[in-house]
Symmetry: C2
Subunit: 311 residues, 2 copies
């Protein structure tokens, strides 16, 4: 079933120990939708500038991604420049130009209205909430956020979180949002803010899901209930940008592709999230993510199983 | 089958956000042997001072641990004082008194000679090598080390590592020993130093095993071959001291208890390592580790399985 995703479609310039890339197609909604497109149909809501040409458009359309919700505005697309030279686990931001994103007013095409799944990628929580409220009929809402919104737009973020079923954030964000360092207490606190499940991403160590109110037939965060998926140990991480968004795309895409939301589906979705993240970081930008086959994805899923399973 | 372990038996004073404890029985060989004692018979080689009384002796003997290799020397036992107030993941050392350990000359009782398994807990690699060379008949040698030996006694350490089959160290130590930050490249480099398998401990994120020359029927570190075991997300970590040694004890103890060394045994051993570590940190010192039952251990093993397995 179709997912609508709202978030950034952008250009990035990135330097890492493996090299650099200039103005490659990027943005949370781009990574998310490419990753999810291997599992289900995806519809994007975003804004781009005049630098978004037929070439970039083709990256989406070749994967069957519906971009009728990508608005074209005068000016330039969102631009980010970052460096991983000091730390592969955390980018140093060198430049952020919001450009057309500064005045973005998301509009949902009528053809998107029957989407059963909605993902609110990392943007201003006011915009996330507006999109969420405009699609009251969706079955499941996923979301992401970042330190900037947690620190400086907390009230708006809390209003958004009350309408999110599944929140995907990283360790630092979870601890910051909850105001506590202990991972379980942080999860319990975040789950009190609205989400029924919280997926905390640990970078090279994978991700852990915690559960609050019943979702996927899983109920109440008792000690036995968290679920942990691995990440793949890699000989070389070329470019970590988009790993988290690709995780979210694989995770949410797999869920949306399944007829029923069961505990088994949720667990497999965690593995598919890790799988898609592991592909993304193998090349700069979206290069690896654009060239996959479902067969390669399922082969790597089996590697993740062998990496963690006793039998 | 019996394990002989050589390492420190000591007293610790520790402060953590949960409180503090003064002069509790501790040391790598203590944590290791208590954890391993739930799986197999254990024999300790260490040195203690006059402060090691019948009370401390009973902690070992009540678990059936053979302490005929614990030498009594005039003076005080090894003492360590540390604080986890700033960082639960890494102790700040406030005081280290080697005391009787400064002139320790390990002597192996004749009754230990038929041990099939040997574990070289974290001590001077010269002593580790001496013990290893004195027991040429053992079937499998495990070992641990730490930053101090890696930095300042590298040549001696390398001589010891050439006689170790299974090395258990943490992320920082592995990267330091290998001289590279990438976890797979670091593992490959360490495996070239002698060990046939390397278990890298990630604290709250569990541990990953990498394989070199054939061991347990597992061969050659190809991408599909690492194995990752989880750690248990805990609401409160009371005292992290001894978690790594307890991991080693559970891991090696389970291996020694099995009739054959198979890939399945190795994987289950990784889980038992995590299980024993998770118990240790629930209370100060060895308190929790002393009071376990095998039933509790196997119940928690099942929790670890649920935490990671898709089905």
């Amino acid at each position: 079933m179709a997912i609508t995703v709202v978030g950034s479609v952008a250009f990035d310039s990135v330097e890492t120990p493996a090299g650099s890339i200039d103005r490659c197609l990027a943005g949370a909604a781009t990574y998310f939708s490419l990753a999810a497109s291997y599992f289900t149909s995806v519809r994007v809501i975003a804004v781009v500038g005049e630098d978004f040409t037929a070439k970039e458009e083709a990256v989406f359309t070749e994967h069957g991604i519906d971009i009728r919700g990508i608005e074209r505005a005068p000016g330039k697309s969102f631009f980010w420049r970052g460096s991983y030279l000091d730390n592969l686990n955390e980018a140093k931001t060198l430049q952020t130009d919001l450009n057309v994103f500064a005045t973005f007013e998301p509009r949902i095409p009528e053809v998107y209205a029957d989407s059963q799944f909605l993902f609110l990628a990392n943007i201003d929580p006011v915009l996330q909430k507006r999109v969420r409220d405009s699609m009251p009929g969706v079955k499941l809402v996923g979301g992401d956020t970042m330190n900037y919104w947690i620190n400086d737009h907390r009230d708006n973020l809390l209003k958004t979180l009350s309408g999110v079923d599944l929140l995907l954030i990283n360790d630092t964000e979870a601890k910051l949002l909850a105001g506590t360092k202990n991972p379980i207490k942080a999860a319990q606190e975040v789950l009190r803010m609205g989400p029924k499940a919280l997926v905390v991403k640990h970078g090279e160590y994978g991700a852990t899901a915690f559960f609050g109110d019943e979702i996927f037939g899983i109920k109440n965060g008792q000690p036995t209930h968290p679920f942990r998926a691995p990440a793949l140990p890699l000989t070389e991480v070329v470019d970590p940008t988009g790993a988290g968004d690709s995780f979210a795309g694989g995770f949410f895409g797999y869920i949306a592709s399944q007829p029923e939301l069961t505990p088994a589906v949720f667990k497999r979705a965690m593995f598919y999230g890790g799988v898609m993240g592991s592909f993304t970081v193998e090349r700069f930008g979206t290069e690896r993510l654009r060239q996959l086959t479902r067969e390669e994805i399922d082969q790597r899923f089996e590697v993740f199983r062998q990496l963690t399973h006793l039998d």
